[in-house]
Amino acid sequence: MTRRVTRRATRPALRAGAFATATVLVLGACSGGGGGSSSTASSTSGLEGEPAEGGVVQVLQNADFSYLDPAKGWDGGVNNFYRLVYRTLTTPASGSAEDPNEIVPDLATDTGTVSDDGLTWTFTLKDGLKFDNGDPITSAEVEFGVSRAWDPEIGIGSPYAKQVIDAPDDYQGPYLSGDLPTIETPDDKTIVFHLKAPFPDFPAVASQPNFAPFPVDSGAGDEFLNDIVASGPYTLDEYTPGSVINLVRNENWDPATDEVRTAKPDGWHFQLGLDPATIDERLLAGQGSDVNAIAGNLQPATLARLQDPRYSDRLVDWPGVCTTYMGLNTTKKPLDDVKVRQAISYAVDKAAVQNGTGGTMLADVASTTIPASVAGHKDFDLYPSEGNTGDVEKAKALLAEAGYADGFEMTLDMRTQPKLQAQAEAVQQSLARVGIEVTFNPIDTSKFYETIGTPKLQNDAAITGWCPDWASSASTVIPPLFDGRRITDKGNSNLGQIDDPAINSAIDDALAITDPAAANEAWGNLDEQVLEQAPIVPLLVEKVVLLPGENVTGVYSSPGVATGGLDYTGVGLKDPSKG
C-alpha cells in the first residue's frame, strides 16, 4: 500500500514573509514564490538553475557526525548525510518533490504491502542494486542490516525497528545471536517483516537509517567507525574524524534505480570542526571554493549583517519542524494544578524567548505542539496574548483561582549554552511578572537529557525541543510526549509526566487510523485536547536560515530527513568549474 499524505499548509520552500520588516531583505523573488501555492516556489533568483553534472560541494560544519554507522547514528544532521552513502527500503521524498513529507520507495519497488491483520509487511527489491564493491544487494543484506539494530552496543540509533518488529526476547543482533527469524527472505528480492502489533506508519519505519543494507557479517565492533560499505551514490574516500570527510562517486550506484537522489556533483567535501562564527564569516565572504559551500543555520549575530543585497539573493529561510517547549512536571506541586499550568501558559513571554533565540528570523512563536510544517498540524492558540508577550492579567487571575495569588517558587532545568540560557532567562523574567520565582538548575549539556529524562531527577520544569522522526505524520510527536503509559524510569520523553486516560485512549485511536488524512485530523485535535491540560508550553519553532554559496543550487528543505534543513540529495553546482 502506498501512503499519500495531504499537503501541508505551508511549504518548506523559501519564504520571504519573515523579512517583510527588514526592508532591505525583501527578496526579489518573493513575488513569484510566497504562500506556497506553487510547487516550484522553492527557488529564488540566487538559487535558480538546475544543478549541473560535476564539481565538489563543500560542507562547512561545526561538529562531526555522530556515527558513520547508520545503526548507531540517528539525528537530523547525520540522517541527511546517510542518504548520500546509504539507501534504505523506503525514504522520505526529495526536498524538491511535490510533497517532501511523503515516504517514497528507495531500494524497494514500492512502500510495502501490508497483510490484512496489519502484522506482516512485504517489500520487493529493485533490480540492479549494488554495494560500492560491486556486490549485489539482496534481501539477505537488507535483513542483515536491519538485524544489527538489536545489537546492544551497535543498535543505538533509531529505535523503531526494535519497537515495531517482532523478535525473540533474547535476540541481540546478528553478531551475538545470528539471524533474526522474524524477518523472512523467501528469495533474493523479497523481504517480509512480522510486527508485534499493527503499525500503519511502517513505511516510515522502513525509511529509518538502520534499514540500510550491509554485506552479511560485516560491521562488527568498530569496523564502521572509520569506514563504510556504501549503497548510495557516493562512497567514503577519506575520513579524519572531527576534521574531514571526503565523498567520491560510487561507480556501482545505478541512477536508474534511484528516483530520489540526483547526485549531480562528483563529490562532497565536509570540513568539520569549524567554529560557527568562522563558518558564517566564510559564507559571507564566499571566497575560493566557498562559492560551492553549504552549511547549517546562521548565527543570530550574522543576521544583522545580511542587510547587504548581495547576501539577500542567497539567503534561504524555511520554517522548522522542531518544537521548542517547556515541560511542566505535573507530579510536582503546585504544577499538578491545571489552573497553575494554564497560568504559566498565559504568563510566558514567547516574544522574549523568540528574541533570545535570535529574533523573528530564526524562530516562529509556537502555540501548538505539532509544528505548522509537519503533517497533522492544527492551527489554534489556547493561551493568546497581544504580540505573544504573555497575558499577565489572565495568568494572575488563574493563579488567584488556584490559590497562588502571591506566586510560588519553581526550579527550571537548563543548559548553560548561550541560546538555551537566553530562553531560560526569558521564561524566568516573564514568570516573575506574575510572582512565580524561577530558579535555575544548570546542567551540563551532556547530562541534560539524562537528568530530565529520569523522573526521579527531573525538576519542576525544563526547556527542550522535539523533532518528529518523520514528517508524514504526527505519530512521532504526540505519543512520545503525552502518552502516560510511556513514562519510564530513564529516557522518559513525557516531561509533563501527564497520564490522562482520555488522552491515552485518544492516542490509541489515532494510531490505529489507517487513512492518513483522517489520522492527521485526529492528531491535530488531540494536540488541542492535550494543551487544554497544559502539560507543556509550546514556545517556538526554530527556523532554518541558510546562506549557501553563490554557485550552489538545488537547495530544498527536507522535513523528513534533515529536520527541515537542507536536503543534500538535490544539491548541486551551477557551474562545476568554479571554486
Binding site: 562564527a277 529574533g359 508577550t389
Partner: protein
C-alpha cells in the same frame, strides 16, 4: 596571560628579601604609595569598582534598569536581536547600551559583574593567603618530614596543568553553586606559589639570632612563629598577595569565559565577553565595555602590586 600561574612564578623571583631590616612601617608604605601617581590611579579605580560592587542595588536604582530585566523595546527582533541605535544601543535610558537578544541593561550587568569579580577574587586571595602562609610556615619552621610532605604536595600541585584541570573539574562538578567551588579550585592550585616563598624566608628567619634567642628563652613553637617570624614576613605576604589578585580576577573571568564559571543569570565579566564573541562584528561595544572594565581592574591591581613592591623594596634598602 592572566590565567597562567607563571605570572606568579615570574614574580616570586623578585619577592622582597628578608635579610634586611624589619618591614617598613605601614604608614610609610601608604605615604609612599599615595605619592605615586600610578598607584593613586590604580587605587582609585579599584575603589570605584569596589564601591560599584558593594552598592550595586543602589546604583542600578539610579540607572533605572536591573541586571535581569529584559527590554524588548531596545532590540530589533528582525535583526537577530541586535540592539537598536548606535554603539550597541547606548542612550539616556541604557547608559552602556543593551545586551543583544534580551535587551538587558549592560550598565547594570557590568555593575553586578563587578560583584562577582571582586567577591571571587578577594575570597580566593584570602583563602590562598591563609593556606600559603600556613603551609609555608609549617614547612619552613618545622623542616624535616613536615617540609618534605608539604614540598612534595606543592611540587605536585605546581606540576599539574592547573587551568585544564580547573576547567575539567568545574565542568564535572554540579553547577548549582559555582562561586564557592571557583574559589576553592583557584585556591587549591594557587597557594603553593606563596607557600614556596614563605617557606624559604621562614627557613632563613629560623636561623636568625632573634628567633634563636626566643627559642632559648623557652618560647613555644607557635609563639615564635606568630610573634617573631610572621611579622617579618608581613611585607612579603602583602606584596605577593597584591600581585596575585589580578591573576585570580583573570582566572575567574577566564573560567567564566570558557563557560565553567558562575552560573547564569548571575552576570560575570568573563561570561559577558564569552557571549559577546559571536556579536563582535556587529556590536563591538558588547565586548569592549566589559573587556575594558576587566582590563582596567587587572591592570590596577598589577600596578598597585608593582608599586607596593617597589616601596617595600626601597624601604628595605634604606
Amino acid at each position: 596571560m592572566t590565567i597562567s600561574m607563571t605570572t606568579l612564578e615570574a614574580e616570586t623571583g623578585g619577592a622582597p628579601s628578608v635579610d634586611a631590616a624589619p618591614p617598613a612601617p605601614r604608614q610609610g608604605v601608604w605615604h609612599h604609595l599615595l605619592r605615586n601617581r600610578g598607584a593613586v590611579l590604580a587605587l582609585s579605580y579599584i575603589a570605584l569598582v569596589a564601591l560599584l560592587a558593594v552598592a550595586a542595588p543602589l546604583v542600578v536604582k539610579l540607572s533605572g534598569w536591573g541586571p535581569y530585566e529584559f527590554d524588548q523595546a531596545a532590540i530589533d527582533p528582525n535583526l537577530g536581536g541586535l540592539p537598536i541605535g548606535p554603539l550597541g544601543g547606548i542612550s539616556a535610558e541604557h547608559w552602556f547600551g543593551v545586551e543583544p537578544g534580551t535587551g538587558r541593561d549592560l550598565f547594570a550587568r557590568i555593575v553586578y559583574g563587578a560583584r562577582t569579580s571582586m567577591l571571587i577574587a578577594l575570597a580566593a586571595t584570602t583563602l590562598t593567603t591563609l593556606l600559603g602562609v600556613l603551609f609555608g610556615l609549617l614547612a619552613g619552621y618545622h623542616g624535616g618530614k613536615v617540609d618534605q610532605v608539604v614540598s612534595r604536595v606543592m611540587d605536585f600541585l605546581m606540576a599539574f596543568p592547573a587551568l585544564i584541570f580547573m576547567i575539567a573539574i568545574l565542568s564535572a562538578l554540579p553547577a548549582s553553586n559555582r562561586a564557592p567551588l571557583l574559589v576553592l579550585v583557584i585556591s587549591v592550585f594557587g597557594w603553593p606559589y606563596l607557600a614556596r616563598v614563605v617557606r624559604g624566608q621562614t627557613m632563613t628567619l629560623t636561623q636568625r639570632e632573634f628567633v634563636e634567642a626566643a627559642r632559648a628563652s623557652g618560647a613555644s613553637g607557635w609563639r615564635i612563629v606568630v610573634l617573631e617570624i610572621l611579622p617579618n614576613l608581613r611585607s612579603t605576604i602583602i606584596v605577593m598577595t597584591t600581585l596575585a589578585v589580578p591573576g585570580y580576577i583573570g582566572t575567574e573571568a577566564g573560567l567564566s569565559f570558557l563557560g565553567v564559571g558562575v552560573v547564569p543569570p548571575t552576570p560575570s565579566w568573563g561570561q559577558m565577553i564569552a557571549q559577546s564573541m559571536s556579536w563582535y562584528a556587529v556590536d563591538p561595544m558588547y565586548f569592549l565595555l566589559p573587556g575594558t572594565f576587566l582590563f582596567l581592574l587587572v591592570l590596577s591591581f598589577t600596578v598597585l602590586g608593582d608599586r607596593l613592591k617597589d616601596v617595600v623594596d626601597a624601604g628595605e634598602r634604606r
